[in-house]
Every structure is written in structure tokens, then in C-alpha cells.
């Protein structure tokens, strides 16, 4: 055979295209982490990944489940877009894996009829998937003890968003509820029932609450807190029966340890939540003859591999070395270990820190390390303040040199320092009791933490990792570090410690974290905004003289121009500010690559009359401009010479157009869909609202451009959730979403408040936008601003909806001033010869057009001819 050179290539190509396939069963927290890690660490280069999830939605933050009542399911999502960005990963939801055939290496999947529609038409679709690697991440299921009557209407478990939806629905008609189980999850569930307005009881068989984590003294301290919040606690009792007909009416309780037939007590309840522990969902493994641990959980080795080398198990369904872990951090660690194993790495899982810290109904509770002093010779140091409801216990080694564990109730502020001391074996100070005395009586907690100390247990991030992120990777804030290392992104209990580490580091290297705008100002945009407001400055010169150095630049000048424009209603080309404006603002048009400009008249909501359309056409034709429909539902006219702009705008203004602010860091467009006026699905007048909002906020100068959208129903044809503010009509009013954008880093807007009246919607939007204008950084879109705010979207909601800072009226008044002071920039410019003076080609030859501008014709319209680039270094 003649050598063509292809022989070598073909086998390689074939070799490369033989990709392996990983099937992940379960898209919960751990399954999701597995996929993320697989993508990040390059496993997807060689493997296709199919994820089969039983729940109707993508993975969400189960740890934060209780906050669902406040924020809705979207806020919990770990994958807000509902799919992975990576085309090699396919996520199939609403699908239950019913069988694993290890010999054939296939799984069988049933999509339940509820997912596809009518039961008769679709009796559940069955599909079979091949795998090379199977990863079981099926989690755990709540354990429901075999109590009589447990199947009655009104009985629930607490695990999924659907569970919470059902509990909420049942609570509407109920007055009281009981949670069976006084552990960590039971107290969370009780918290939920309190939030739903039910008279709430907790029933616990052990003699104290949270028996796994707390000792008796801590448990009774916790009871006092919990009771103060209106929850009735019954400890040391067992549930004998759930009473009622088809629906629950109450719970019959008997003292633990007494015989059947002993006296009982009945607690009235229409809602019962079982929270008596969890059981690993290991049925698939059992049925395909994989070994499970004696107390449940798929038995796996240190690489999380089962006896079958093709099958792994991770998360709550797994039992590495026989132990299952009911926390998310060990699950995350297992996910990383399997990715590592598939990349032939050395990672192993050898056990996990079972420390817990939580805020239950506003009470701090923490338990870590050897909380029960099980170590030989261990000593206990306790501090209890019954009045304040504080209990703290330290468990130290026999010789008093090492901290082994502890329990904190009522004040867990020391947790961030103490827990890493346990894992690092740091030597205790001479008077260890100082560590638990109230702040102020001891030397405090300013103890050096060793670099190996694990700071974030959820994501296994050490102090050294954080320091590395700060010193080597340029992180300057908690938000940066969170992105870089994931520390703080799960339960959040380590955030305060992370913040301290960052601040200590900067203090130790003598660096003041420079958030200054540029070399001329040490202040941030937000600080400058306040300075300008407080002093009432109107001129850049005064501001730079008092608070800056030098003569400013293209960063600080436009930023100050924007601040001045937000606070006053003076024209941006007024003498004091004209020279501060960025080039586009300076000529009220967008500069193009050849030095010409584009013209974008405002077309509010995208609605336009035929007459106005004709005017745009005529102007474009008469001036020979290139026309294009923009992505913002309006029309852009390109190729205008600077000196033509006034005449073009004269025609447009006379026809009733005004500036579209395409050039400004200001409101661009509020995109609309056709809405209830025409669309057969629309439930509100989305065009009307979009126009009203566009007219209300037009001209508002802001840290970055602002875009809005209004859709007439949930089909969302206006892509409102891709905007800084998006409004979606509901049967009852409007849902308001904030923080969306397209661009380089797309973000979906998230729900700020739902079912609003138009008046409430407008006042929330006024507040939201003004709060953003006041506090965001330069060129920070709303999404990044929200992300960097301490408290994120919740913080925004507190300020905007709950008015927690009492700023609501002030923010609304500022917006009212803006709305009242609005004038069309182009109309005002045309009326002022001083402002028009800048629109000349050459000061000494105003009638000569710039000779370097030339056009050719393409598809019947002009296109710029690139100006000849001057060779570098050679003077023109």
C-alpha cells in the first residue's frame, strides 16, 4: 500500500474518538459537585457524562432548604440555568433509574408519566443507557418509623422542595403542627412550621434535643431558647399513634421507657412532619448484588469504588469503610475523590469531620470534634450563663495541651477559631478557659491559626488555601476567595473566619486593600458618591482638590461625571462636566471604528408608529446612514459624521424622538413582549408597563448600563430574566427579577418579590435602582453588584422590600427627583449654541469634512473603509 500519511492519523483519530461514558444516578448536591469537578478537572475531555435525576428540577441547596419559604426555589438552585454549559454533559431530569445491569453495563430509566403528560397516553417512557463508569449519588431518604397512622393525610417528611410545597399547602388550613424528631433536621423542620404560623411542637425520644451533637446541659440550654420562640418541646417521649380519620388530628405520646398501655398524652395537630433520621438510598446497589454496610449505604473503598470496578458511590448513599455520613461536606470530598480516581489520581476518602454549626430559629449551636469527651482522660471545661442562655464546653486532652472538641450553644462566635484548632492540633494557651469566657473578660480569640487548619469544612479549604488565593491569585475580598476556593459557598458558617484571614493578611503585609478608583482617588466609587452628596460638590476640580491627586483620567472623570449626573439634573454637557464625559457621552452618540457615530433614538418598549418608522427611514436615507435593527428592539443609524449629528437630531426631535442613551452608562431599553393586548397567552399589558418603566428611568446615569424587560406571561418572550431588572406578569400582578444580563458573563435575574401590584413594583424598582446607583462600583452591572454585597440578594431584599435600613422613602424621593428633572439631552443640546459648538469637524475649517472618513457600499448600504493604519512609531 502506498503511504499517504493517513495511516498514522486514522488510528489516532479513532482512538481519540472512543470516548468513555459516565452515568451519574441522582442530581443532588453531591452528584452536581461531581459533575462540576469533572468539568473543571478535565474529565469531560475524555468522558461523556449523563446525569439522571429523579427530581423535577436540577440540584439545589438542600442544606438551605428552609430558606425556600423566604426566597423560592430559584434562589436555591445550584445550576440556575438548568443545564451545564459543557455540551459533553447531559442532564436528564424527572427520570428514575430503576435497574442496574452490571453485566451489560446499562441502567434502565423510567420517566414518570407525570413528567410527560397523561398516564394513558404515556405510561412512563423507559430508556436504557450504557455506561463505562457508573456513579451512584442517590442520597438518602427520610426514615419514617412504623408508627400507626403514619400514612394519613397531613403526614410529611422534610427533604425536597416538593415536601416543603406540600407542607406549606397543608399549613394553610392548619393551626398546629408536630415534628417527630428533635435532631438537627427536626429543629429545622420546626423552624419551618413556626415560619408558617403554626403552633409548633417537637417530639424527641431521647432525653434532650440534638442528642447526637449535644450533652444534657447543652440540650436543656437549647430547649430554653427554642421554647422562648414559641415551640413546645417534648423530650423523652415516644409517639404511640397518629390519630384521626383519613387526615391527622393529633399525636398520642407516651413516656419513653414505659410499657404499652401506660398513660398517654395527646397533642392536637393537623400537620405532622417525620424527621427521625435518614436512610441511605442504596436499593439499586442491593438489587444488583453490590454489598451494603450493616447500617445501610453502598459499601465502598477509600476511592469510593464498590467491589465492581466500574461502579462508584458517593454522598449520602455511600458508606466508605462501612460508615455513612449525613452531611454534605463528606459527600463533596467523595465526589472529588472519584473524579481523582478516574484521572488516575491518588485521592482517598478516609473519614470526615462531623462538626456542625447552625443557627436554628436564631440560636447559635455548634458541636465539633470529640464533643462527648470520649477520648481517654479527656477533661471538660464548661461555662454556663443561664440568664443569657449560653453554654460552652471545651474538651481538652489529659495534659491540657490540645483541644479535642466542644459544644457551643447560644454563642458560637468562637467556633471559627476552635474547630480548626481541633483539626490542626494547635497547642492550647495556658489558660484555655479564656477561650470560652465571654468576650471582654479574656484575651479574646486572637490566636494564630496554623496554615494547615481547615477553615471551610464544607469544601475542605485550609487557611493556607485562602492565603494562597489572596497572595498569589489576586483575591481581595470574601467574594473573590469564594469564587477561587469555594470557601464559604455552602453553609456559610466559615465566612467570618475567611474575612478575618484576608484582613489579617493584608494588615500583616502592610497593604491597605486598594479599592480606589484609579491613581487619582483612593476612594471607591461608593465612597465618592457619598462624599459628593455630603459636600454638595458640583465640579470635578473641587473634588480632586479635596479628595484626590493629579488631574484625573479616563477612569475617574467619567465616574465622577456619572455621580454628578445621578445627584443633580444638570445637562451632561454643561460647562462643568462636558470635558469629564466619556467619548460617547461627550457627543451624545456612539463612536464607531472609523470615528463616525451611530444614532439611536429611543423607542420605548419597542413600540413605534408607522409615521415614526417612516421618519427614521427618511433621515437615514437623506444622510446616507447604514440602518440596522438592534438587539434592543430599536433602530440604529450608523455612519454619521460628528458635525452631522445636530442636523440629524433636529429632524428626529422634531418628529417626536428623543435620545435613546445608547451611549450612556444609563438606562438602555426596557424590552417588551406583545403581552395581553394581542397575545392569546398574555395575562398583563407588558408593552404598557415596559413603556412606562422605560420613560420613568430614561436618562438615569448609573454605574454601568441598565437594561429592563417585561414579559406578559411566564413564557418570557421578552427575555426579562436576562436583564438588570425583569418583570414577568402573573395572574395576580407582576414578579420582579433582578440582576440579569447577557454579555460576556451571562446571569439570570433572580426573584426579588412576587405578585406585586404595579404601584409596589414601581416603588421597589425605584429603591432597587437608586440603591444600586448609590453603592455599586464603577462598571459593575447589577449581577456582580448583588454578588459582592455582603448578604447578596437577601440583603437587597431586606433593603428594598423590608426596608430594613429605613432608606425606602429616601431612595424613592431621589428617584422622584430624577424623574421630575428629566429632560431630553438632545433637545436641550439643540437649543444651546454653546453646547452645539463642539460638533464641528475642524475649528478652523468647519465646512471641511474629515478627509480620512470614507465608505464603500455593501448590500445596498454604506460600510466604513478602514482608515489606513499608520506604521507604529512613524509620526503621522
Amino acid at each position: 500500500m502506498r503511504a499517504t500519511g493517513w495511516e498514522h492519523v486514522v488510528p489516532t483519530v479513532l482512538g481519540m474518538t472512543k470516548r468513555q461514558r459516565i452515568v451519574v444516578v441522582g442530581h443532588g448536591m453531591v452528584g452536581h459537585r461531581f459533575v462540576q469537578a469533572a468539568i473543571e478537572r478535565g474529565l469531560a475531555e475524555t468522558h461523556d457524562i449523563v446525569v439522571l435525576g429523579e427530581e423535577p428540577r436540577a440540584a439545589y441547596d438542600r442544606v438551605a432548604l428552609t430558606s425556600w419559604f423566604g426566597s423560592g426555589p430559584d434562589a436555591l438552585s445550584l445550576l440556575p440555568g438548568g443545564e451545564y454549559d459543557d455540551p459533553r454533559v447531559r442532564l436528564v431530569l424527572d427520570s428514575v433509574v430503576t435497574e442496574v445491569d452490571r453485566a451489560a453495563r446499562t441502567v434502565t430509566v423510567v420517566s414518570p408519566p407525570s413528567a410527560v403528560g397523561d398516564l394513558l397516553a404515556h405510561p412512563g417512557a423507559v430508556t436504557v443507557h450504557d455506561y463505562d463508569v457508573l456513579v451512584l449519588a442517590t442520597g438518602a431518604a427520610p426514615f419514617v418509623p412504623p408508627v400507626e397512622g403514619r400514612g394519613k393525610d397531613g403526614c410529611f417528611v422534610y427533604r425536597t422542595i416538593e415536601d416543603l410545597e406540600a407542607i406549606r399547602a397543608a399549613s394553610e388550613a392548619a393551626t398546629s403542627g408536630v415534628v417527630i424528631g428533635g435532631g438537627l433536621l427536626g429543629l429545622e423542620a420546626a423552624n419551618a412550621l413556626v415560619q408558617l404560623g403554626l403552633d409548633t411542637h417537637v417530639v424527641e425520644m431521647a432525653p434532650r434535643l440534638m442528642p447526637v451533637q449535644l450533652d444534657d446541659a447543652a440540650g436543656s440550654t437549647l430547649v430554653r431558647h427554642v421554647e422562648r420562640l414559641g415551640v413546645t418541646v417534648h423530650t423523652g417521649v415516644v409517639t404511640e399513634e397518629v390519630e384521626g380519620g383519613s387526615s391527622v388530628t393529633g399525636l398520642r405520646l407516651r413516656q419513653a421507657g414505659t410499657e404499652e398501655g401506660a398513660p398517654t398524652e395527646v397533642v392536637d395537630a393537623q400537620v405532622v412532619v417525620f424527621s427521625a433520621g435518614i436512610r441511605p438510598r442504596d436499593a439499586l446497589a442491593r438489587e444488583c448484588d453490590l454489598e451494603v454496610a450493616p447500617r445501610g449505604g453502598v459499601l465502598v473503598d477509600e476511592q469510593c469504588r464498590t467491589a465492581d470496578p466500574h461502579v462508584f458511590a458517593i454522598g449520602e448513599c455511600a458508606a466508605p469503610g462501612g460508615t455513612m455520613y449525613g452531611l454534605v461536606a463528606p459527600g463533596y470530598a467523595m465526589a472529588e475523590v472519584v473524579v481523582d480516581a478516574l484521572l488516575d489520581g491518588p485521592g482517598t476518602f478516609t473519614g470526615a469531620d462531623m462538626s456542625t454549626k447552625l443557627k436554628l430559629l436564631g440560636v447559635d449551636v455548634a458541636s465539633f470534634g470529640d464533643a462527648f469527651a470520649a477520648t481517654d482522660g479527656a477533661l471538660e471545661l464548661t461555662y454556663a450563663d443561664a440568664v443569657a442562655g449560653v453554654y460552652k464546653k471545651l474538651v481538652v486532652s489529659e495534659d491540657g495541651t490540645r483541644l479535642l472538641g466542644g459544644i457551643l450553644v447560644g454563642d458560637a462566635s468562637a467556633y471559627g477559631v476552635l474547630r480548626p484548632m481541633v483539626s490542626s492540633g494547635l497547642a492550647l494557651p495556658d489558660n484555655p478557659e479564656q477561650l470560652i469566657l465571654p468576650v471582654g473578660t479574656g484575651p479574646g480569640l486572637q490566636l494564630g491559626m496554623p496554615d494547615e487548619a481547615q477553615v471551610c469544612s464544607c469544601n475542605d479549604v485550609t487557611k493556607a488555601d485562602i492565603l494562597h488565593a489572596v497572595a498569589e491569585q489576586g483575591c481581595e475580598s470574601v467574594a473573590d476567595v469564594k469564587q477561587c476556593t469555594r470557601a464559604g459557598s455552602t453553609c456559610g458558617s466559615c465566612v467570618a473566619t475567611v474575612k478575618n484571614i484576608i484582613e489579617d493578611h493584608f494588615a500583616s503585609v502592610g497593604k491597605v486593600v486598594d479599592k480606589g478608583l484609579c491613581e487619582h482617588f483612593r476612594l471607591t466609587r461608593q465612597e465618592l458618591f457619598d462624599v459628593v452628596a455630603v459636600h454638595g460638590y458640583r465640579r470635578f476640580d473641587d473634588i480632586v482638590a479635596a479628595h484626590g491627586t493629579g488631574r484625573g483620567c479616563d477612569v475617574c472623570k467619567p465616574a465622577i461625571a456619572s455621580i454628578l449626573a445621578s445627584q443633580t439634573s444638570t445637562h451632561i454637557l454643561a460647562p462643568a462636566t462636558a470635558e469629564l464625559q466619556d467619548t460617547n457621552d461627550a457627543y451624545l452618540a456612539n463612536i464607531q471604528r472609523n470615528g463616525t457615530y451611530s444614532v439611536v433614538p429611543r423607542i420605548p418598549g419597542g413600540e413605534i408608529t408607522p409615521d415614526k418608522l417612516i421618519v427614521i427611514g427618511e433621515v437615514a436615507r437623506d444622510y446616507g446612514l447604514y440602518t440596522k435593527i438592534t438587539g434592543g428592539q430599536r433602530i440604529d443609524l450608523f455612519g454619521a459624521r460628528m458635525e452631522q449629528l445636530p442636523a440629524i437630531w433636529r429632524r428626529l426631535v422634531d418628529a417626536g424622538f428623543e435620545s435613546g442613551h445608547a451611549y450612556g452608562k444609563s438606562l438602555r431599553t426596557v424590552k417588551s413582549c406583545v403581552g395581553s393586548t394581542w397575545c392569546r397567552f398574555g395575562v398583563q399589558d407588558s408593552v404598557g408597563l415596559a413603556i412606562a418603566l422605560e420613560l420613568r428611568y430614561r436618562g438615569l446615569r448609573s454605574p454601568h448600563k441598565l437594561k429592563g424587560g417585561v414579559s406578559g406571561c411566564a413564557r418570557e418572550c421578552a427575555e426579562a430574566r436576562g436583564k438588570d431588572f425583569g418583570v414577568i406578569a402573573t395572574e395576580k400582578g407582576w414578579n420582579l427579577y433582578v440582576g440579569g444580563n447577557g454579555g460576556a458573563t451571562p446571569a439570570h435575574a433572580r426573584l426579588l418579590a412576587g405578585d406585586l401590584s404595579t404601584a409596589d413594583l414601581v416603588s421597589y424598582l425605584d429603591r432597587f435602582l437608586m440603591y444600586y446607583v448609590r453603592t455599586a462600583d464603577r462598571l459593575q452591572r447589577t449581577s456582580t453588584w448583588i454578588e459582592q454585597l455582603d448578604g447578596g440578594l437577601d440583603r437587597v431584599r431586606e433593603v428594598v422590600v423590608d426596608d430594613s435600613l429605613g432608606l425606602g422613602a429616601e431612595l424613592e424621593a431621589e428617584m422622584a427627583r430624577h424623574v421630575g428633572g428629566y429632560e431630553d439631552e438632545w433637545r436641550a443640546t439643540l437649543e444651546d449654541p454653546a453646547k452645539l459648538a463642539r460638533f464641528v469637524s475642524f475649528v478652523n475649517a468647519p465646512d471641511t469634512p474629515d478627509p480620512s472618513i470614507a465608505f464603500t457600499t455593501e448590500r445596498e448600504q454604506i460600510q466604513p473603509i478602514a482608515p489606513a493604519l499608520i506604521p507604529v512609531g512613524a509620526p503621522a
Binding site: 487619582h520 483620567c553 475649528v843
Partner: protein, 119 residues
């Protein structure tokens, strides 16, 4: 200064140029950007932005970088020394700088200065 201006073209009254702003002028067929800085000094550079080829430098923002008076191009924001035309962001790039004089309140632009000459 070693160069003797051979011809000076009057372009505009100095007051026409905004403080910390610029105007474009046509001098012997070339576009020249004339700036006035904070302290009233007047500078002239070629108006052509070497990075885009567009004749736009007079529309840039005038300010300072360290002690250097600069204009930043409105196109891609590189800063140019008003005195010499040197680009502060790319040592290989320089725009022409012109002799300039204010006579009786009128700005006159002269000829291109050889590279390396200060104002």
C-alpha cells in the same frame, strides 16, 4: 528649543479650547489635535489615533498620569503624553507632536517636532 517654526498656522482663539479639552484643526491638510491643560498650557498632537487609524484624539479625555499630562484616546483608551506624543501604554508607539504658540490669544500650530524633543 532647537527647531525654528517655519510657518505658523493660526487655528483658533485659545478660549475656544475647553480647559482640559481638545479641538481638531486642519493644518496643511493634516488633522491636528490641540489641547489646553489645567494650567493653561497648549499642546498639539496629530489627531490620528495610531491604534485605530481614526482621526479622533482631540475627543479624548485630558488628565494626568503621574506627572505627565496626557490625553487618552477615545477609541481604545491608550494614554499619550501631551508634550511629546509618546504612548504611555506602548513604548513603541508615538504620535507626532507639533510646535504650538499662543500669540495675542490666538493659537498657532507650527511644524512637526522631531522625535525626542520636549515642548
Amino acid at each position: 528649543m532647537s527647531t525654528v517654526a517655519i510657518s505658523l498656522t493660526p487655528v483658533c482663539a485659545v478660549d475656544t479650547i475647553p480647559i482640559e479639552g481638545g479641538v481638531a484643526a486642519l493644518v496643511a491638510g493634516s488633522a491636528v489635535a490641540v489641547f489646553r491643560s489645567f494650567d493653561g498650557s497648549v499642546f498639539a498632537l496629530s489627531n490620528v489615533d495610531p491604534f485605530s487609524g481614526a482621526s479622533v484624539l482631540s475627543r479624548g479625555i485630558v488628565g494626568s498620569r503621574g506627572d505627565v499630562p496626557v490625553v487618552s484616546s477615545p477609541m481604545y483608551k491608550q494614554a499619550f503624553d501631551l508634550r511629546t506624543g509618546a504612548c504611555l501604554d506602548d513604548a513603541a508607539v508615538r504620535v507626532a507632536s507639533y510646535d504650538v504658540a499662543v500669540v495675542d490669544g490666538v493659537v498657532h500650530v507650527g511644524s512637526i517636532r522631531p522625535a525626542g524633543e520636549d515642548a
